[in-house]
């Protein structure tokens, strides 16, 4: 596997604040890689360093084998960026947004027009060709930002929260389009708070918290290793926790109390779940949910279920 992004000790400081705290990661050709993390974890700061928007404070970074500090132009020619905030050109129409952007890449007029038509079709925006940006819905704006990021046929696509705030249809459309880019060989680096988004798109994820990467791996592996196969959610009074813990003391099960729920993390195997439910049947609970462990559990286990603002 050929690495296309290589970061070692990558650091970003704003004055005294350490936004990214010496992280290491490698992203390979054709890979779909996700940064997960709560607000303020340092995802945007990381992405911005990748395309030179934000100069790195320390560490090493190679993008497409080049150093962003000395060869930013050549790197930027080969990547596409969807930033966290939509930054479409509101003075221009949908088509003009694409054509003007193509001109920044020095694309000849004819080719730009062809590429713009292609991308409007790909993103289902043809009907809006002449519309002004303000007339677009949130989902359409996001699709236009994405179309714009693809104008130069990038080798790497950087996406900072591509679907935040969109409705389910809009999100699914964007996911489908992103997955279909895979056959073209584009690598994708995205940030997200949505576990389903990461599960849908990413070959590998890095979970970030407070500027550090606290776990890396494929979503399924990470969930299995760090959470287990299944989760049992018990809505019981905290007073009963001790009783539950005593009754399962001989089983190798990790538990966690958060709010009105006691979480039990089960390693592989349904037999265990069966034993467990048999034992817990006598305990007075208002609800018991038995389900697959998800990336969400991993995320919350790693970063804590409490809301912590950094």
């Amino acid at each position: 596997m050929v690495p296309i992004i290589l970061a070692k000790g990558l650091t970003k400081r704003f004055g005294d604040l350490i936004a990214v705290d010496g992280i290491d990661f490698t992203i390979h050709e054709r890979e779909y890689f996700g940064f997960l993390g709560p607000n303020g974890a340092g995802k945007t700061s990381t992405i911005r360093m990748l395309y030179g928007h934000s100069p790195m404070t320390d560490g090493q970074l190679k993008v497409l084998g080049l150093d962003i500090r000395t060869t930013a132009r050549r790197i930027k020619e080969q990547i596409g960026v969807v930033s966290q905030e939509n930054n479409l050109d509101t003075d221009l129409s949908v088509l003009e947004n694409l054509l003007v952007y193509a001109r920044y890449f020095n694309m000849p007029k004819r080719e730009a027009r062809r590429r713009a038509d292609e991308l409007m079709a790909f993103m289902q925006l043809e009907a809006k060709e002449k519309s002004r940006v303000e007339q677009l819905s949130g989902g359409m704006k996001r699709r236009l930002v994405l179309a714009r990021a693809l104008i130069n046929r990038p080798k790497i696509l950087l996406l900072d929260e591509p679907t935040t705030g969109l409705d389910p249809q809009a999100r699914h459309l964007i996911w489908q389009r992103l997955r279909s880019l895979k056959s073209g060989g584009t690598a994708l680096v995205l940030t997200t708070h949505y576990m389903d988004e990461a599960a849908q798109l990413c070959d590998r994820v890095a979970v970030m918290d407070a500027g550090r990467i606290i776990a890396t791996g494929s979503p399924q592996e990470l969930v299995r290793e760090r959470v287990g196969a299944e989760v049992l959610e018990l809505r019981i009074a905290p007073a009963l926790d001790a009783q539950v813990l005593r009754s399962i003391a001989d089983l190798d099960i990790e538990t966690e109390r958060y709010g009105d729920t006691l979480y039990l993390y089960l390693p592989e195997g349904h037999t265990l779940a069966k034993t467990l439910t048999d034992r817990l049947i006598g305990i007075n609970h208002s609800e018991m949910i038995h389900r697959q462990a998800t990336l969400e559990d991993l995320f919350l286990r790693l970063t804590g279920r409490e809301l912590v603002e950094h």
């Binding site: 100069p55 930027k76 020619e77 479409l88 050109d89 003009e96 003007v100 952007y101 001109r103 920044y104």
Partner: protein, 260 residues
Amino acid sequence: MNDIFRIPSVSWRCLRVWQRDRDAYMKFYKLSLLGNLGDPILYLVAMGYGLGRFLNQIEGMTYLEFIAPGLVISSSMFAASFECTYGSFLRMIYLKTYDAIIATPLSIEDVVSGDILWGTTKGMISGTIMFAVVGAFGLIDSVWAAGIPLLIVLVSFLFASLSMAATSFVKTFEAFNYYITLFLTPMFFFSGVFFPLNRLPDWVSVVSKFLPLTYAVEISRALIYGQPSWIVPVGLALLLGPALFFYCVSINLMKRRVIQ
């Protein structure tokens, strides 16, 4: 600190930003022209004809003749300044246009430079049209007036750059009032556009010597009425120096602001 005073590395790609600004302008140019030309034409007619009737000749000219050259120059000043204050600020902060463009092969230096070139162009458009209006009033009577376009370019470039430097410090739209009400507007009134400086109290003429518009107005009068003197080359140099200085400084300041 040294970062602010060095010569920025700008590439030809800044023209892409100029093209973008032009394309956006062409969609609404009528409205924009009205904004840029309404005021100076109104001043020319109201003050020149209206007030002029009650005034004696100034330095051997009618009042209309006296104020016309300065209004050509100040229309450039205002058009260039508004573009590189409100226009650039809007694109940088609210529309995030700068952020979008620096994700492409363009650098922040290219973007700011392109915006300054566009502000310069806006100043040239206004100044040139005002120049034509003044010509239509039959006020031009020297071939030396052929030098006016050069002066317009220089003034537009100077104020586009100066305004961009101001913009790099501004946090809210309201803050532009400092720049416009405390700097541009007083300069408009105390640089000899409307009254000869030698008739004003001493301190005013001393202050006016530090205002770049003063030299531009004097040069414009000398050219339009065919009385070129040493003030033309010296004045042009006094405009070009600061223009280049602020061009460099404003790009560096904006870079410091945007790139964090």
